[in-house]
Amino acid sequence: MLYREAGDFKTSYREDNQSFPIRFDRIAVQVALVLALLVVPFVINDYWANAVALPFLIYAIAAIGLNILVGYCGQVSLGTGGFMAVGAYATYKLMTAFPEVSIIVHVLLAGGITAGVGVLFGLPSLRIKGFYLAVATLAAQFFLVWLFNRVPWFYNNSASGQISAPERGVLGQAVTGPNAEAWVTYLFCLLFLLFCALVARNLTRGTLGRSWMAIRDMDIAAEIIGVNPLKAKLTAFAVSSFFIGISGSLFFAVYLGAVEVGEAFGINKSFLVLFMIIIGGLGRIAGSLMGAAFLVLLPVLLKNLLVGGFGWPTDLAAHLEFMIVGGLIVTFLVAEPHGLAQLWRVGKEKLRLWPFPH
């Protein structure tokens, strides 16, 4: 009864094209935003920030980035971990070279540098596609990790090869480093996520997004109707890498504080983010958020339930966690191959008709 379009009149194109055409959705999103921005910062503690909120927000940014490339432009990429590493190491070099510049600028610049690297590794996409492109981006993944391990300049010659974020702040509040308050780091990442989601949403419904989708759906036809594949593919790589770079930057500077490239940005990271968008829904911004939530929150939830709630041994819980998460992924994909976002869309269609489905 609540979920209705009836009576919600659109009198301009602007209103007709809004992201949330149903009033109920709009209100729900607004309430969620108010909660996330004005209430959560006051109640969040270290555990919730560092174990739940930060990883979710940061992976969500990475998932949005990869979704632009894979979901909207149809270019399969396995280089996410490597591109996140570019973001992280760029931030580290910028932070240590220009300590007086604001961390916000560093994060954005790191995104820009990653965009450049992404375009470079996107060049093969002009010639190859599908699985072959996946292999080419896989090479990027291994090359970048090798590079950051091999060249000491990237980690300022530290003995351990680790990079660690010095303390930097915004408006007098530490954002990076051990003295950063939970609410500051949370808000910092949340604002970046909102920024990225907004930019991604608006890009994907503009000319650029339409040219990406044209390339995805059929590149030859797209070329015939006047879409420039070079421009479309390379902009997709650039925009996607920009977001992934931001997420790598936040992952290193705000979330972990110290990383080593092999462990933090290995091939596992590429697969994790790819799974997020596949489970969440390819070509949907909301899908990126849902996929990130599913793969970040579920393991933590299961661990707290099995070990904290039932008092089971930690190794048994860890093994069960793999099985349950794996089983749920298979179940979800069998039930809805287009991901959680599609499940949600179907649910909404049903809600509109409820309680008179016929």
Binding site: N45, D46, Y47, N50, A51, P55, N149, A159, S160, G161, Q162, S164, P166, E167, G177, P178, N179, Y255, L256, G257, A258, V259, E260, G262, E263, A264, G266, V300, K303, V307, P313, T314, D315, A317, A318, H319
Partner: protein, 431 residues
């Protein structure tokens, strides 16, 4: 009436549970363990030893100074992100001390725990320059660290070659991470001093692929191979060394590459493999009788209870023993049984391990004696070499506990810790 009584009983039960929940003030020792993944073969015995020793103290002595010990186990899988989650989840429970058994997680925790005021003890791992307690106030790495280990390995090779190893070729096979890279700087300095040639062979996580590294060793025939490996990498490396018929007595592992689980898969071929250690091996100690009767026979052993007496079980037990002795010292200093993390730190900084103390604990001659001070959080850095006997399936010490080359190490530690202090705006000092 009946429902009312039931309700009252229920309410009483709930309130009893709530009161019993945070059972007074226990001494909380989180155990960031890993019983899954490619490092589990090494993580399990260590964690079992750590927990069993704590259980023994609870069962036999009623804890430390009359206060019970609570061990909070948290699975990290040797993964930094999960390690952070474990740290955040346990620090609110009154954690006194963190021993993450992972160099990567230690690097993660050094700034966090320093800011939160909780001590970290990275026993034989972690950041070597934490030995300088004037910079790293909350981090301890006694009784020995990686650079000591690198120096011990070179000392052993020196002793075997009558003190002259100039022109020799020594290979370092290492885990390509912060852990494996730790000894490189020391080995380079020592190479300048002793004139050997150093060959670096990184192995990527998790270390199941080592064919190319060992092919290189077969081609270039280094006189000695030193290994900085962990988890499945150890077993693979030793098997590969056997496959290329590398002389086992020239192959030395750091103390983290010297457990039974690492050599057993290679069978008889592993005979003669050497590994460093900073404590004694085997189960010929009085404490094992108590462990058997109070813990194992009572069915309270951690894990499967089948790791007693192995090298890493002993090390876990040693870690627990040093932690509980530091807690005891803290109780004495502050005159209270309920210690806080800050008091724990004072106890660790005043820790003295003497022969009488170890004998009293049922571990006579178990490790070298040492004492911790503010300026030296790393102990004396003594180490010995053990050799594997594949026939008897046991490790035996083949050298005495010897010192590391402090002349080379001291300036390195000062340089690295000073750089850290400058980067993070720390004024070195003991107050």
């Amino acid at each position: 009436m009946a429902t009312n009584r039931l309700k009252a009983a229920g309410a009483a039960l709930v309130s009893a549970c709530l009161l019993a929940g945070p059972a007074a003030a226990d001494l909380v020792f989180p155990d960031l363990s890993y019983r899954t993944g490619p490092y589990a073969a090494n993580g399990i015995p260590f964690s079992d030893g750590y927990q069993d020793y704590m259980t023994l103290l609870n069962e036999r002595d009623g804890g430390i100074g009359g206060v019970a010990i609570e061990v909070l186990e948290c699975e990290t899988g040797y993964n930094t992100e999960k390690g952070v989650e474990c740290y955040e989840a346990t620090k609110g429970e009154g954690a006194l001390l963190y021993q993450p058994l992972s160099t990567g997680i230690t690097y993660q925790l050094i700034p966090k725990a320093t800011a939160d005021g909780i001590p970290v003890h990275s026993m034989g791992y972690g950041r070597t320059s934490a030995k300088n307690g004037e910079v790293f106030r909350w981090v301890f790495n006694y009784p020995a660290n990686y650079w000591d280990g690198a120096s011990h390995a070179i000392n052993h090779i020196l002793a075997e070659n009558d003190g002259d190893i100039s022109g020799k070729k020594i290979a370092l096979v290492y885990h390509n991470s912060a852990y494996g890279k730790e000894p490189i700087r020391t080995l380079e300095e020592l190479s300048a001093k002793h004139g050997y040639e150093l060959m670096l062979l990184p192995v990527d996580h998790p270390g199941q692929e080592q064919k190319s590294q060992w092919l290189q060793i077969r081609r270039q025939k280094p006189d000695n191979v030193i290994m900085w490996g962990w988890g499945v990498m150890n077993q693979v490396a030793i098997q590969e060394a056997v496959n290329i018929r590398y002389p086992m007595e020239n192959f030395i592992g750091i103390w983290w590459s010297g457990s039974e689980n690492d050599v057993l898969p290679a069978g008889d071929g592993a005979d003669g493999y050497k590994a460093l250690t900073f404590h004694n091996l085997g189960d010929d100690y009085p404490v094992y009788d108590d462990l058997q009767s109070y813990v194992v026979d009572a069915g309270k052993a951690a894990g499967a209870g089948d790791q007693l007496g192995t090298a890493l079980y002993n090390r876990g037990m040693y870690a627990a023993m040093l932690a509980t002795e530091a807690a005891r010292t803290a109780q004495e200093i502050h005159g209270t049984a309920d210690i806080t993390p800050a008091m724990m730190r004072d106890g660790m900084e005043a820790l003295e391990m003497t022969e009488e103390k170890m004998a009293g604990l049922g571990l006579p001659n178990f490790g070298p004696t040492f004492s911790v001070t503010c300026s030296n959080h790393g102990g004396d850095g003594l180490g010995a070499v053990a050799q594997w006997d594949a026939g008897a399936k046991e490790w035996s010490l083949i050298s005495d506990y010897g010192p590391a080359d402090e002349e080379v190490l001291r300036p390195l530690i000062i340089a690295d810790s000073t750089a850290f202090a400058e980067e993070n705006g720390i004024t070195p000092g003991c107050n």
